[in-house]
Amino acid sequence: MPSNKDFNKVSVLVVGAGPAGLATAIQLKTLKPDIDVCVIEKALDLGNHNLSGAVLEPEPFHTLMNAAAPGWRDSEPAKDILANVIDKDDIMFLLGRKLAFNIFFAMKLGKALGLGFGQMIHKGDYSVSISKLTKWMAGIAKCMGAEVLTGFAAQEIMVDHSGRATAVKLVDQGLDKEGNKQPNYVEGELIQADFVVLAEGCDGLLTEQFIEKVQLKRQRPQLYSVGVKELIAVSPEQYAKFTSGRVVHAMGYPIWTPVFGPGMFGGGIVYAGAKDHLSVGMIVGADWKYCDFNVQDALTNFKNHKFVNQFIEGGTVVEAGVKMIPEGGYYAIPRDPETGAIGKANVMILGDSAGFVNMLKIKGLHNAIDSGMQAAKAIAESLEQPETAAQKYTDSIDASNVAKEMKSARSFRHVIAKFGPLQGMPLSVFGGLLPQFKVEPDYQAMTVANYRLKPNQNFDKDTFTAVAATEHREEEPSHLTIRDRTICRTKCTPIFNSPCITFCPAGVYETIHDEVKPANPSNCLHCKTCQRKCPFDNIRWTVPEGGGGPRYKRM
């Protein structure tokens, strides 16, 4: 087996085969064809852990592809994946279960006046499946000679005294439920790398560890939203009525209604997918205050709204999933307090891990790809001095469109978190003019209040996880831990009635013998909502064995 070469050493290690990580690999191979770049991904197959709406703003993607694979537009995947070009862009305000008003004119007005929310116009963008997009990008990266290895989950990042990453440790495999070694036990390997690119997605395990280890700082806490999405097979008539180039964003009901509430940030989406398929989703700010709230309940209400229902009634949910979205914006980007680097030394933080989501556009995909390209350039320029890469990367980001966008949207989400959707939305127009103020992390927002529009029936989480095709080895140790069980018993259950049982979209948490437990870790969809929403910050998520988790194919 491995003999004359140390296969545990690579020049560039990218953690996470999403759009950001793969853009790094592709761009790097374009710039330096001989460089040794390896992308590791915890999912079983490419695209399996990638979920988004998704609206793709084409610019950075086109630039990346034009340089890497000229003629890509005529390839089969391009024709399939980029088939839905957006030509109809609706923004609806829903009031109650039946009324819907198109307020797209307001966005146009906003754009004309140069106001922030005018950015929320999507014409000419693509409505895509990010699972498919990722798989395609990985294929291109591999063709260019990058190694993209699935089924390898990174558990820890090793850092020396200067803040330089020396290695990444993979998860131990082959332990039983109690943590004993089975006959097929393999200790997590150490992968040494000159450069480490953290492109893990939202709330990345290594990213947060690294931030802690080298003391990067966020000016304001990261805020999250939770997005659930279903891909629904509809009739040809319904699809024709919706049209294949249309995206709908909805505000208001069922998460925000005037006067009596509920008052949550977020909204619903309906995007055209491939033939006779529509993506229907609900995104809600994780600072919701209702202890019995579950985003899937809002999705149910949204789907039952007359405006949405007309397009999906009688349809079949063929795939479903959930993810968190980092919404804290510009001030929540983790930086070195001294140098301002987004990362440190030879480590760069990209895409959703850094929080490059523009909340005015509610899009981050283009920024993820853009950040991947900047990281590649920074690496290419610091091959002799890897410890300068993070700084070069940051300088390049700060001078790029990514930073420009992030700055323009810098206060949007925090203003709403602070003042609530009703006052916050109008205030956000003043964007950066407002002084900095303190915002609490999402988990501190929980109250004993109830969600007034709770549907009569519990959401069918079993079917949801079944179509998400999630699977983990049943015998492995739980990758979810409750830090202090007495808090559950003495505080959380008596006060809030254990919200994790309700809000976990996969039904992982259950009360067994009067104790709240992550009873079904094998159902986990890797969204990490529990880690950010437990009202006592009492839950920790770590990676399970590689290959576990959902298996999205068309999300």
Binding site: M1, P2, K5, D6, F7, N8, C38, I40, D45, E147, L149, G151, F152, L170, Q173, G174, Q182, P183, N184, V186, E189, I191, A233, T316, V318, D462, T465, A466, A469, E545, G546, R551, K553
Partner: protein, 698 residues
């Protein structure tokens, strides 16, 4: 120093069948739309080889993986390299495509010979390890047939291995228990039924695997004698979707509703038990016995049937009765009358088909009897029932081949069950089942009397013996049939063929198969599917003694220890309560299954027996003798209660004949819920005590 040659196969991933994988027109599964993965049991076999290597303490032992398939099958070889294989060989060639098990086993055996010559430098100290069967074929035929070609002993259904200083002793599953055996000689072929710890890929080995050159051999390189479609001895003539399950699959909201459903269905009977394709069989009549030569109502495929019906109708319309007198002008007339549905060649073939009255195969219909401790296996009686049916249609006799020691006394019972002739092969060396010795005995008898059909039970023993016998007498074999019918393929010149219908791809499609290039048609049939006939003690039959020369060298395996389950188990009880892995512990199993058995016995006034899934037996919750399923006992009670059983296909096959199936499982996605009548989603600890309480209160 032993080396290990591990056989692996790339198969479609039938665990993840997406909604677009089925052809909307025909309803059949489109294989190319499924992802490709390594066959799960082969992954276990690879880990088992590594386990043996570790046990032997020989760090230098080589592990060589071999696969045959299209070029993309290299993925499974990379799988093995990223875990523990040192060298891999890909056997790929268009000429090897379309092969049945014979034309798969044969080139694989030739490839093994080449590996031994070129990589192992003729060192004969090696094991060939493979999974027991593949998930797409489910036949378990290739390894024993390969062993037969290589002239090696084969140890099948292995679950464990122990290194005893100079040799390995293997634990394997046998009907009703387990057995520890060792091969008397090396090399040896081992098939793995279960090894719980498949290996994980390592990062370093995966990178190495992606850069390593594979050894690729073509058909030319190995010079095998039976390859591809031409070398095959069976061919698939029809693929169709399985019939809709007749199980009700009704979810009940709790123990109270479940208790009610159990009481009601037990009293009224479900009335929907699945009898398979067998029930629909129309009594076949040989052409010579039909009223009219134009009568062709037993054609093998729907297309052939339609064509003949059209042609016969046209001939009658045109008033043609004498086929021999059809001249060129008449042919033209027929062709245009049929609206040019036929090519001229087709018409010629079909017309000469009318003249055929003689069956394509000749001889008796045989059943190879299985027995232990002087008792005939119940599956054998099901086969004599079926054989009676087939033989009556073909106007021939039913023969039973009964090999063993002091077995002649069983002949009477076999005759009562439908046999005309019982061929008894008695030898002290046949006292216990040794695959090589039994193969020699049965093959010898087959080659002497040449029956036209030979049926075996698809038990662990039958699935081992049948491929070795069929390979040695150069006949085709179809595994695990659920339907056996006599049909004609008149257009192709064949009358009275045995059509063998079986599920494939994990039960997602059905395939109808015929034997070709063979003197006898052979099949194994699933226990519990065919119906035994009422024993008739007055039936007359003949005992024919057949002598086969056997020596000690014909015994390939040394039996170290046999463990048949302790205690009497009455699987003829009306109610069987089984526990699976979901029981969590032996305590739970004993308490919950025991209590429910008692509770049901009282409430229904019926005999109740405890059963278990294979997983529960492996976990040590109960003894092997209680195991229900394909590798345990096949049962057909009025009521089957499955507690904490996931519903793996091997288990469900074993309970297919049950009238009512009830399941309790905490996993809402458990496959068993799609194959049962009533189910409750819940833990067994919670549900069972409440169910017992509800049963008591009526």
């Amino acid at each position: 120093m032993s080396d290990y040659i591990v056989l692996v196969k790339q198969v479609p991933d039938v665990s993840q069948i997406t909604d677009n994988a089925f052809d909307p027109e025909s309803g059949t599964l489109i294989r190319t739309r499924l992802a490709s993965v390594i066959n799960e049991l082969d992954a276990q076999a690879l880990a088992f080889a590594n386990y043996m290597k570790t046990k032997s303490g020989d760090a230098d032992a080589g592990i060589i993986a071999l696969t045959m398939g299209p070029p993309m099958a290299e993925e499974v070889l990379r799988y093995t390299l990223s875990r523990c294989a040192h060298k891999v060989v890909l056997l790929t060639d268009r000429a090897l495509g379309g092969a049945d098990t014979v034309a798969t086993a044969n080139p694989l055996a030739f490839a093994v010979r080449k590996i031994v010559r070129e990589i192992l430098k003729n060192d004969k100290d090696y094991f060939v390890i493979s999974g027991m069967q593949s998930v797409d074929g489910d036949t378990a035929q290739v390894p024993p047939q390969m062993a037969e070609e290589l002239g090696l002993p084969c140890i099948a259904y292995v679950t464990d291995a122990e290194f005893k200083g100079d040799r390995f002793e293997f634990t394997r599953i046998i009907s009703g228990g387990s057995q520890v055996v060792a091969s008397k000689t090396m090399p040896v072929v081992v098939t793995v039924a279960k090894y719980e710890y498949p290996l994980f890929a390592t990062f370093a080995a995966t990178r190495w695997a992606n850069q390593t050159e594979l050894i690729t051999w073509s058909s030319e390189d190995i010079k095998a004698t039976h390859i591809g479609v031409k070398g095959s001895k069976t061919s698939v003539i029809r693929v169709f979707p399985p019939g809709k399950s007749t199980r009700k699959c009704r979810q009940l909201d709790g123990p109270a509703a479940l208790a009610k459903a159990i009481m009601e269905s037990f009293k009224s009977g479900n009335g929907e038990s699945d009898t398979g394709a067998d029930a629909q069989a129309r009594g076949y009549v040989l052409p010579a016995k039909r009223a009219d030569l134009l009568d062709r109502i037993f054609e093998a495929t729907a297309k052939e049937q339609d064509d003949y019906e059209l042609l016969s109708a046209k001939l009658r319309e045109l008033g043609i009765t004498d086929i021999d007198k059809i001249d060129e002008a008449a042919r033209q007339k027929i062709l245009s009358a049929a609206g040019d549905r036929f090519h001229k060649k087709t018409l010629d073939d079909m017309l000469s088909g009318y003249k055929l009255t003689e069956p394509a195969f000749k001889g008796e219909v045989w059943v190879v009897a299985e027995h232990s401790a002087g008792v005939v296996h119940p599956a054998t009686f099901e086969l004599t029932g079926k054989a009676r049916d087939l033989a009556d249609s073909l106007e021939t006799k039913v023969g039973v081949c009964l090999a063993g020691y002091k077995v002649e006394q069983m002949a009477k019972e076999l005759i009562a069950a439908g046999a005309d002739n019982v061929y008894v092969i008695e030898d002290k060396l046949l006292e216990v089942f040794d695959p090589k010795a039994y193969r020699k005995a049965v093959a010898d008898a087959v080659a002497k009397f040449w029956p036209q059909i030979v049926l075996y039970a698809a038990t662990p023993q039958g699935r081992m013996l049948a491929p070795m016998v069929s390979y040695s007498v150069e006949c085709g074999l179809t595994a695990d049939c659920t339907g056996l019918d006599i049909k004609d393929s008149s257009r192709k010149g064949d009358i009275g063929l045995l059509l063998q219908t079986r599920p494939a791809l994990g039960g997602n499609v059905m395939a109808t198969i015929r034997t070709k290039n063979s003197r006898s048609q052979m099949a194994t049939a699933r226990p519990g599917v065919m119906k035994r006939i009422e024993p008739d003690e007055s039936r007359k039959g003949k005992v024919v003694r057949h002598k086969v020369e056997l020596t000690d060298d014909d015994i390939s395996l040394e039996i170290v220890k046999t463990e048949l389950g302790s205690g009497e188990v009455n699987f003829n009880a009306d109610v069987i309560v089984s526990g699976g892995k979901g029981m969590q512990s032996r305590d739970n199993y004993e308490r919950l299954v025991g209590d429910l058995c008692a509770g049901l016995g009282k409430a229904l006034d019926a005999q109740v027996e405890a059963g278990a899934s294979r997983a529960a037996v492996e976990q040590g919750f109960t003894e092997r003798v209680h195991q229900v399923g394909q590798t345990g006992t096949s049962i057909g009670p009025k009521l089957y209660v499955a507690l904490g059983i996931s519903g793996a296909i091997q288990h469900m096959i074993g309970v297919a004949n049950t009238e009512t199936i009830v399941a309790v499982n905490s996993d809402p996605n458990a496959p068993i819920f799609k194959q049962c009548d009533y189910y409750v989603v819940g833990t067994v600890e919670d549900t069972v005590p409440k169910l017992i309480q509800k049963l008591q209160s009526g």
